[in-house]
Amino acid sequence: MDKKLQLTDDILLSVEKPARYLGNEINVIHKDTSAMAIRFALCFPDVYEIGMSHVGLAILYDFLNRREDTYCERVFSPWSDLEAIMREKGLPLFALESQDPVKDFDFLGFTVQYEMSYTNILNTLDLAGMAVYSKDRKEEDPIVCAGGPCTYNPEPLADFIDFFYIGEGEATLPVILELYKAHKAQEGTKDDFLVKLLDIDGIYVPKFYDVTYKDNGEIEAFTPNHPHAKPSIKKQVVMNMTDAPYPSKPLVPLIQTVHDRVVLELFRGCSRGCRFCQAGMIYRPVREKDVDVLKKQAKELIQNTGHHEISLISLSSSDYSGLQELTEYLIDEFGNDKHVNLSLPSLRIDQFSLDIMNKVQGVRKSSITFAPEAGSQRLRDVINKGLTEEDILNGAGEAFQGGWTRVKLYFMLGLPTETFDDIDAIAKLGQDIVEEYYKLPKEVRKRRPQIVLSTSFFVPKAFTPFQWSPQNPYETFMEKQDHLNKKVNKKNIKYNCHDAKTSMLEGVIARGDRRIGQVIYAAWKNGATFDAWSEFFRFSHWDDAFNRTGIDPLFYTVRERNYEEILPWDFIDVGVTKAFLYQELQRANEGKVTPNCMDGCMNCGAKGFGGGICYVD
């Protein structure tokens, strides 16, 4: 009953939340490590509670452990208190299930979800006792791989990762594992294996490619240096979502995490085509799951976890064709005496969704959220956010009538073509919503409305129509924020401000090339870790890193790129073509909206995957 632990009791009792490090959750998978052909350490490079709330990790954990020859275990970043002890005592980073050092594994795989986790990736390698740069790692070290949305531009991490997996893990991981098994039996070198990977679609091995640069800093050429290295790496996707494996017995942490709930994935992809949104482009085409399968999964998941909440997740859940049928079923099946709450993020606010929210038991009428992203209709058309002022005001009005008094709105500052008039429009929209509330008859206005405006700063991303666009410099971001802050009438409106330093760094990394690896390395050497956590983030670590490496962050952020320029990620084929993205950029500049994929095909290129929404009449 007392399982082997890497950390002694006195260490565990001296750190915050020791349960992060035990690997004893409900539904945890234990296998005989000596009988495993492949040991895979799957790492979410952030703290346990964040990583455990990520459904992608749960899917891969389940998927890999379905194989009898493979044992997939989890690795998270130790919190700073434990890291200090590990470094002082020379304790190696370990995987949770077996508590064995990461160094003993065949693979160390990172899921890369946000740019500000990059220094944690380097820190993970170092804590595991491995060299941070791929070229310096030893033959016996695990093979280091990475996937996830950020790796669609793999170049900033190219020097640290042995191979990247572009696409959805379920699609090609089995091929890689079979290849590895055969390779291991033949006792080949790590290099032999990486060469074999070149024949597999979706795999990018950075060492087999060279980059040269022009005097002005742009890429001159990106060329394979191995005969088998493909000039273009094609994204791998699962076309049949209905039959795709999905964890029916997911891990249930013993401590509270960010999301303690059952998660139903309705579909992958998004048909809306917002021009700032990377996910909306790289996950195309839309592939739905059958509603009957979702009903069955919901039941199994509640049964196997004991959770009290079901959450429907997808990029835009309102677009799911079976939404009404599914929510009605879930309310009938789990509402009332079963005490399971339904949570519905990213819904369009209309009568239907308000009706559902009214029916759902246990929903405190806390707040209604809109994400107009831009204040003026002109700018919303530029970004192709299919939401009109009328939609927002009507939605808010209906919500007020339904008893909600709190409305949250999300915006971005610094979108392409933005002017101060567009920023003023954010404040005005907030005020218009307040007035919408005071249109209600006096007797139903029980308390004051509370409008919360939040802004983030626009970060242009690879594989979006704005991949060529300049990002605002730091000073402009802050000036715009101050401007808006002064415009907001604070009586019923709260405005949430941020600092723009991390947005600037995200901007550098998101469109970074291979040279940015040096900056990440230098920042990490300066002590940067947990950059996504404001209590740890120190811009000086990064500022110094730019100075030392001689790399100008503005080259990556404020510069407008030409269509002819070779972009660092051009060799990745996500299906959506560069020509389509550029056409979308031009339509943006003309303020022309592009229809939802449901309403008309614009031939973005995703049809090439041969399925999904592109083929629905």
């Binding site: 007392d2 009792l13 004893n24 049964q303 004991g306």
Partner: protein
Amino acid sequence: MLIRIKFAKKGTMKFIGHLDLIRNFQRVFKKSGFPIAYSEGFNPHQIMSIGAPLSVGVTSDGEYMDVKTTENIDCLTYCDILNRHTPTGLVIISMTELPDKAKSAMALIDAAKYKVTLKHTVITEKMINKLMTMEEIMIHKKNKKNVMREINIKPGIFHMALPEPHTLILLLATGSHMNIKPEVVLQSLCEVNDIPYDKYDYTVHREEIYYKNDQGFMPLNHV
């Protein structure tokens, strides 16, 4: 139906704090189909309460929780069912039906018995005598308002014994009117006898929780 559940918290479960323990039980009840009653109102919650929260790091064979069910159940059967759904280290030992007007575990508790196992520190009978013959054992403790106060813990130490060289048995006041933790007693013992106190040199195990009646200290499931 009111039920008192006796459970053990062992092994790695000792690292789970009180609020997380409650959350785990909520999921166990839900998963197992246990007919637990929910409170009325806008945000219904399971009707359950744990007698005396256990500190993180302490194991126990004698924890108690009162629950209300919506129907009469066979305690023996449900003991097995619940155990199939608990996390490793959390074990339901017994379930006892309570009379309708029973006092809650929380209101009932007077004392708890602890076994303290020391790794290196040597405690002798003489040392115990030295502490226990003192008229007052004063310690400094922060109250709820975070103000330091001096309190005499002597009346809260009901019994202290040394059955083996490295094992200390303590029967201490527990509950809402007086609550003495074993580490406080051990600290005082070390202080009085001029030996160093090391908080990582021992483990604490709670063996049982009691209420007091005419016959003496009674385990909480003695209804």
